[in-house]
């Protein structure tokens, strides 16, 4: 397969995954900020949303203050922000268009359809209802793209490269949310307790669509270390770091088998997975949750470069 095609497939999946993540962050933040202050706390949740999205630098270069209006505009609609939801779909669609022949009709339809509907919102949503509809649309579009890939693509390298894109991005997103919110999850925090924390924790889980899963897995009220466990080590949870790496290793192996050659990307992915598998939550806390996440983000980026060097250029 052409390297350019693989590169396009990898990135189009990444961008769709990123758009979904951004829309979940916005949704969780909207929910949190619509609570009375006694529940939502006094921290600026909009600023936190920008950090979680990983684009605080770009944001504050453009805006002075993080509030509902500026953050929604920047994360959802801005053309100045290369990672805004709208730009994500623009890039995904441009990539899909360039590799039209590598996609099934259903997948093209899902991406192109999403792009068309999202373009209809133009430069923004004027009401909260409109914004809510927009965010639902983004999440449903992502499900449709993913679902049509799963149901219609041949199981060959084209499909595997889309999976690498999805899981690299997903691992990065989960790690980023942990990185910004880690202080909320430290064991010491449990003593603070109170409704304030409950809603903060719930917001974290909502941003990775894991609130219900949490209850099914632990059958407990929200406990910060269990939330950290769910997002890092629990391989049942499809957005956990453990699950993302299980998938990355698996799909990299399929590619290696098909091509008859292992490379640095395969070795690196396995090393990261092993590190996660051999970790225990109490050790991670002892070693420092923040440091653990920081290292993971760096590792994940290195894997991205290794994949690029090995296959995409």
């Amino acid at each position: 397969m052409l390297s350019r095609t693989a590169d396009n497939l990898f990135w189009l999946s990444r961008y769709v995954e990123r758009a979904e993540y951004l829309s979940r962050i916005l949704e969780a933040t909207l929910r949190l900020t619509s609570l009375p202050h006694t529940y939502s706390g006094t921290t600026n949740e909009w600023e936190s949303a920008v950090s979680t999205a990983g684009c605080a630098g770009g944001f504050f270069a453009t805006y002075k203050e993080a509030n509902e209006e500026t953050v929604t505009e920047f994360l959802a609609f801005s053309s100045a922000n290369p990672s805004s939801i709208r730009n994500c779909f623009d890039v995904a669609r441009a990539n899909a268009r360039a590799v039209r022949t590598a996609l099934t009709m259903e997948m093209w339809d899902a991406i192109n359809g999403a792009w068309l509907e999202i373009s209809r919102f133009g430069a923004g949503a004027t009401t909260r209802d409109g914004l809510a509809r927009f965010l639902r649309l983004v999440q449903e579009s992502s499900l449709r793209v993913d679902g049509s890939a799963y149901r219609t693509m041949l199981r060959n390298d084209a499909y595997w490269f889309t999976r690498l894109g999805v899981f690299s991005e997903r691992a990065d997103n989960t790690a980023r949310i942990l990185d910004v919110k880690y202080h909320m999850l430290l064991p010491a925090h449990q003593h603070v307790g109170g409704p304030l924390d409950y809603f903060q924790w719930a917001a974290i889980l909502r941003s990775v669509s894991a609130l219900t899963s949490y209850h099914w897995v632990y059958r407990e009220s929200l406990k910060p270390w269990l939330i950290a466990d769910l997002l890092i080590l629990n391989d049942q949870m499809p957005r956990s770091l453990a699950s993302c790496y299980e998938n990355l290793v698996q799909y990299l192996d399929r590619i290696a088998r098909a091509y008859g050659r292992q490379g640095p990307a395969q070795r690196q992915a396995r090393a990261i997975r092993t590190r996660i598998e051999n970790s225990r939550m109490d050790e991670i806390f002892q070693h420092g949750l923040h440091e653990f996440i920081g290292e993971f983000v760096a590792d994940n980026n290195r894997l991205g470069s290794a994949i690029t060097q090995q296959y995409l250029q």
Binding site: M1, L2, S3, R4, T5, A6, A94, R97, A98, R100, T101, M105, W108, D109, N112, W115, L116, S119, D157, F161, I255, Y259, R261, Y311, L312, Q313
Partner: protein
């Protein structure tokens, strides 16, 4: 011109009909011709509202293809929608047989002519074609002098535009020997017709066209360089997503099951072409290129071309890759050369041309020029190097000032012009607002030349001028397309 130019734009060849046009269904005397017997009966049976309903269904299907197969948004798809007429154009087996033999003969001659021009130049030495027509032509490629191409084939894919003036006379209007387009419409039109009118197909025996992609792939593989592996790798080279025919490029690559590459996907090492793949560089043997000569290789042609592949010509010259079509084929489809095609056929094949040319006056010859100047009001005058209907005079429709201006142009540069009579193009029944009415049509069949043989899928792309009396089939000027049926008996 608009973005809709993905359907080939033949020049506005012929102006208003001087005499009554030959109708392919009713002939000149109004009697239904045998090939159209079933269709005519069917047209009488089908209620007008049903026909209208199918017509809008067809439009929806095309929009869906535009949006879902190709690469367009709704607004863009609207723009590329070329009107499709649901009434097929029908050719009998005998008519097609004549056309097919004529096409084979013509394309054979074209290939021999190009080979000769770039090697022994016998036809020039014999004085059959004037030398300056070749050497002063900007599409002549001196790089190709003395250069052997695999299997001596230059034009692997040709689109020959044909018009008809009566029951027995088909004229070639134009040869397209560079990168002819439009075949995707031929294939799509048939798909849509099969979906919408299965009962009408059941009443005919229509030769299939869907094997075109297969035939094209076989053709491309048959002409791989001898140094290629047993199963050669072919790719389709596109200028990219911003090209107006990108839709067709991606459509064809998909049907052929070959990679759709851009210049940046290819690299040349040791005079061999490779594509960059996830498994490292992979050798490419045949390039079906939809990029013009000028843009193929910045080292050989336009240095500012970002579409090409540096070093591609060196690999080509070394015989390590086949370009389809070959470099420099423009010398065969130029309008000035066109008028010599009957002589070219005779010169190489010692046969009379089966398909005639539209009678053409070459203004470079003084007696022709004199005639043309005397009859400007009734002729169509074309610039030799113009294309797409630009720079031409349609005598019967032009005002006096325009005619006078052309008279001066002609006198200044007679070599730059040819002239043709205004002909009555044939018509076919067509769905228009006021119901079913005759409209003028032309035909572009696609001729594939491989090492083993010539392949022609029966039919081609029929273009129809939807405006009453109009002879302009160009999509940008109200032209549409029809499915073309060749009956197998």
């Amino acid at each position: 011109m608009t973005m809709t130019a993905t359907v080939p734009t033949a020049p506005v060849a012929l102006a208003a009909a001087a005499t009554a046009a030959f109708d392919e269904m009713r002939g000149l005397d109004g009697e239904i011709r045998p090939a159209y017997a079933e269709l005519s009966a069917w047209l009488k049976e089908i209620p007008p509202d049903v026909l209208e309903q199918r017509r809008s269904e067809a439009e929806l299907l095309f929009r869906r293809i535009g949006i879902t197969f190709a690469v367009y948004g709704e607004a863009e798809a609207q723009e590329r929608l070329i009107p499709f007429d649901v009434i097929p154009r029908i050719l009998s087996a005998a008519e097609w047989d004549l056309i097919r033999r004529g096409l084979e003969q013509r394309v054979k001659a074209i290939n021999l002519y190009i080979k000769d021009v770039y090697s022994r130049r016998e036809i020039l030495r014999a004085g059959v074609v004037p030398e300056d027509l070749v050497f002063q032509n900007p599409v002549f490629r001196p790089e190709m002098n003395g250069q052997r191409v695999p299997h001596d084939i230059y034009v692997f894919i040709a689109g020959i535009d044909i018009v008809r003036v009566d029951a027995d006379t088909f004229y070639v209007l134009e040869d397209n020997a560079r990168t002819p387009s439009g075949v995707s419409y031929m294939l799509e039109n048939r798909e849509i017709m099969l979906r919408l009118f299965p009962e009408l197909f059941a009443r005919h025996r229509v030769a299939p066209v869907e094997n075109y992609a297969d035939e094209l792939l076989a053709t491309l593989k048959s002409v791989a360089p001898t140094s290629a592996e047993a199963d050669p790798t072919a790719v389709l080279l596109t200028p990219g997503v911003y090209n107006s025919a990108y839709y067709e490029h991606s459509f064809l690559a998909d049907k052929l099951g070959i990679e759709l590459v851009e210049g940046r996907d290819l690299l040349v090492r040791g005079e061999v072409v490779y594509m960059r793949t996830t498994q490292g560089p992979k050798r490419v043997d045949v390039i079906y290129r939809r990029v013009d000569d000028d843009f193929l290789d910045p080292l050989a042609f336009r240095p500012d071309s970002g579409l090409g592949v540096p070093g591609l010509m060196s690999a080509y010259m070394a015989g390590n890759v086949t370009l389809a079509n070959a470099v420099g084929t423009g010398i065969a489809d130029d309008k000035a050369v066109y008028s010599y095609m009957p002589e070219i056929v005779k010169f190489y094949l010692a046969e009379d041309p089966i398909l005639k040319n539209v009678p053409t006056w070459r203004c470079r010859e003084s007696d022709h020029l004199a005639y043309v100047l005397d009859h400007l009001e009734e002729l169509v005058v074309k610039e030799v190097h113009g294309s797409g209907g630009y720079g031409m005079l349609i005598g019967p429709k032009a005002d006096k000032a325009t005619v006078a201006a052309f008279r001066d142009k002609l006198k200044n540069d007679p070599k730059g012009f040819i002239a043709q009579p205004t002909l009555a193009l044939s018509t076919c029944p067509t769905c228009v607002e006021e119901g079913v009415a005759p409209r003028h049509v032309d035909l572009r069949p696609f001729v594939l030349t491989g090492r083993d043989r010539i392949r022609i899928v029966p039919g081609g792309l029929t273009r129809v001028a939807l405006k009453q009396g109009s002879l302009v089939v160009n999509s940008s000027q109200g032209g549409g397309t029809k499915d073309t049926w060749v009956l197998d008996r």
